[in-house]
Symmetry: C2
């Protein structure tokens, strides 16, 4: 027994780095119980004898024993000494027993592709770290104490004030701070709107023929049905809304259809507003990359046309970084309380420090500078993509190139699956156009949706070359 | 007409600060339409004549017109010139028309009390701004590019790794990074667990006799019923779980019952684990302020006793600041995928920069230093509270003082409402004990739950004096 404890003491010594004797002893005892080296019911040595073995003060051992009794690892009964509690030894699932994976072990995933041309992520290497840190310093210095507390479910007033000014100026949004609700990403905002619509007894939300399945899934899981609006060369046929009985809202990417890339025609914009006014419906405007338009100024937001009928939904995920988890809704006056209630029931918001940092970043002009720099960069990327495709596959038409971070490469009918297989084989991560097609819309066009924001500069030429190898 | 436009031009000039002529002109035109100064159908002057009036290049005006046509504000038809579109003038609700509130107008709320002794918020004035900024700088410098992208729904691996080490050391939690899920606040984590339990067909979650109604409400809104466990001097009577048929989980504040303040007795800890093992149930351990214990070391987490039966739920809201919106779950192995799925369906997480900053803050030891400093501060506050009450109201028993940021002042039966009314009259924000009572539990005790973390140093003596004035 003495030997066993001496061994145990030696093990224990290994555990004592920087934590203090009592804590280290408690850790070692817990671990000994967990691992089964100390069995349930086993009697522990007296605190005096273990203290002598370990060369520590008796009180240290007695305190550790007392703590572990309080935690339920050990039991102490008058006359029977200190023992390992019966239920202290967990029944562990077989898999978890010996094979403890290393700390940074990633979950098993598919092999990482060499080149990533999936749409939806901006150039992460261009995140303006120094400017962000400056804004962060200013925010931390200026923040009132209450900023560190639980806040207004709409988000910090400082950010909503600056954002109202920015959205009016850059996107033609009719925004007032008291109608802005800061969200933890676009998806959070869409989830809130799904809840609000459902609570208003809306049962159907019209969506575009092409879009993001993840967004549709989110609305579906709120209990909404999602009929598709048809699409033609002028954009989504919003005239169709008037004939869709039972539809209470429409989700639209008006400035830059995702993924097809066109801007909604003025008549179609008008038709969407007309429908909303006539039916009491709500337009959800997903302005996901409104800042990036290359050949002329961005088309202003639909919301400006009728702020009482349109919920404007913006995000910094494309203009700055998805990792910030910052997005915003601009809501019609009559919906503000409902959105706040949906958000307030689960009262988390984005970190107030992050919100204040973003407010400083916007107010200082750093955001405008960043957007301008990125616009130049993405336009160059787009031009290089168009040139490369024209050179290597002259038959392939490239569309949706006036704006955004992606383009559509049209493919001859039936060719999409083969091209995607070939891309996978080349280590090229790429999405086909039909991945974004609404299930009720028949296939009319094969194609690729090529995101050009993601590859780092070092990998861009290689990504283009790989793309050329898979094109017909 | 020329005069009208000259006036309009003068107005316009006011709008041109820093935005550029074309944008300024567009803003002014939009505003003129919105305000009704330009009526639907009104014909605009030719671009040449307006350009001459304003002294700008003709192209500037022509571009602005073209943009506004694209946005749907104006229409341009061959032969009829440019006109204000019919639907461009929104029908505004009467309230919103003239009375635009100032930018920082708060929503109407009750008058702010002079002293705040509500529990639940730490001392916000002590937020370690300089240390946090340091951690933020290190995080921004060291972050890999991919940190700015969409991330693992469990949160950043850097934070989960440091947190696993911290939780094992400070709270006796058996934590592995791959079982930790970072949440945007405790409430987010509880919402996820509500979804997971509901998906597992759990219908009832046992809760304690006293707790936070907001948390119960969250579980109820996930479709769960919440029977109450009885409470006595040893804490929550977890033996009762074995008799509660249909209960699939139990929400517990084991280390420091909220709000009563006791630690769960070792036998009761054992009974909770026994029940979970025998029934396959899950214990949700709300370790909301586990770091703050004054008279001896904190009681280790229940989770350590059986990591496969207990979901550990921690947060930085009490130890640092609620405004950070950072919390964590440590989940049994068999639940990891389900929690990730619940979180992943709405794939937002806390900001990755904030997570990396917190990881640096933990790893550098700044968190331990902060917790130690705050522990001393809160203990002093607690001692001053106990002394003040002993001096001014010797009959009033103060309990739940061994830990945390609040104490319970026991009141003679029936006195609670009168004391609360008197407090409100004194400008003292204060909660009664019965506010936290489960609706099924009969009133057995009147009291006050006094939070001593919130008042700034300058207001502390005044808050104590005000409290003394309302005590019997």
């Amino acid at each position: 027994m003495a030997n066993e404890w001496a061994t145990f003491g030696a093990d224990l010594h290994l555990e004592l780095r920087g934590t203090g004797l009592r804590t280290g002893l408690m850790d070692a005892l817990r671990e000994a119980v967990r691992s089964g080296r100390l069995a349930a019911g086993a009697r522990l040595p007296s605190s005096r004898s273990l203290a002598a073995d370990l060369g520590v003060a008796r009180n240290t051992v007695a305190d550790a024993y007392a703590e572990l009794v309080a935690e339920g690892w050990l039991t102490a009964r008058q006359g029977s000494g200190t023992r390992v509690a019966q239920r202290a030894v967990p029944r562990r699932p077989a898999a978890g027993a010996g094979a403890r994976p290393p700390v940074t072990a990633p979950r098993p995933t598919a092999a990482r592709p060499t080149y990533d041309l999936k749409p939806g992520t901006p150039d992460l290497a261009s995140f303006p770290r120094a400017e962000w840190l400056k804004a962060s310093r200013r925010a931390l210095t200026a923040a009132p104490h209450e900023a560190f507390g639980y806040g207004d479910p709409r988000g910090r007033i400082e950010l909503r004030t600056v954002l109202a000014e920015y959205l009016a100026r850059a996107r033609g949004v009719y925004a007032r701070p008291d109608r802005i609700v800061i969200c933890a990403g676009f998806v959070h905002g869409l989830m809130l709107m799904g809840q609000v619509l459902r609570a208003r007894r809306v049962r159907e939300v019209a969506v575009e023929s092409y879009g993001l399945d993840a967004h549709w899934e989110l609305l579906r899981s709120a209990g909404l049905r999602l009929p598709a609006l048809p699409y033609d060369e002028l954009g989504t046929r919003t005239e169709g809304l008037a004939e869709m009985r039972g539809v209470g809202a429409a989700l639209m990417t008006a400035a830059h259809q995702f993924p097809l890339g066109g801007a909604l025609h003025p008549d179609r914009r008008a038709a969407a507003i007309d429908w909303a006014r006539a039916s009491g419906g709500i337009v959800l405007e997903d302005d996901y990359d409104g800042e990036f338009r290359y050949d002329r100024q961005p088309v202003g937001a639909l919301q400006g046309l009728d702020p009482e009928r349109v919920v404007y939904m913006g995000t910094s995920s494309k203009s700055l970084a998805p990792g910030l988890r910052l997005a915003w809704l601009v809501v019609p006056e009559r919906l503000v309380d409902e959105v706040v209630a949906a958000k307030g029931r689960v009262d988390w918001v984005s970190s107030s420090l992050e919100q204040l940092t973003f407010a400083e970043f916007l107010a200082s002009g750093a955001y405008d500078r960043h957007v301008r720099a990125m616009r130049l960069r993405y336009r160059r990327r787009r031009d290089e993509l168009v040139e490369a495709v024209a050179a290597c596959s002259p038959e392939t038409r490239v569309s949706g190139i006036a704006a955004g971070l992606h383009a559509v490469l049209e493919l001859p009918p039936g060719l999409e699956p083969a091209v995607l297989r070939s891309a996978a084989w080349q280590g090229l991560a790429l999405f086909g156009l039909n991945r974004f097609r609404h299930p009720d819309v028949p296939t009319t066009q094969d194609g690729l949706v090529v995101g050009y924001g993601t590859p780092p500069d070092s990998g861009w030429a290689g990504a283009l070359a790989a793309l050329c190898r898979v094109l017909p």
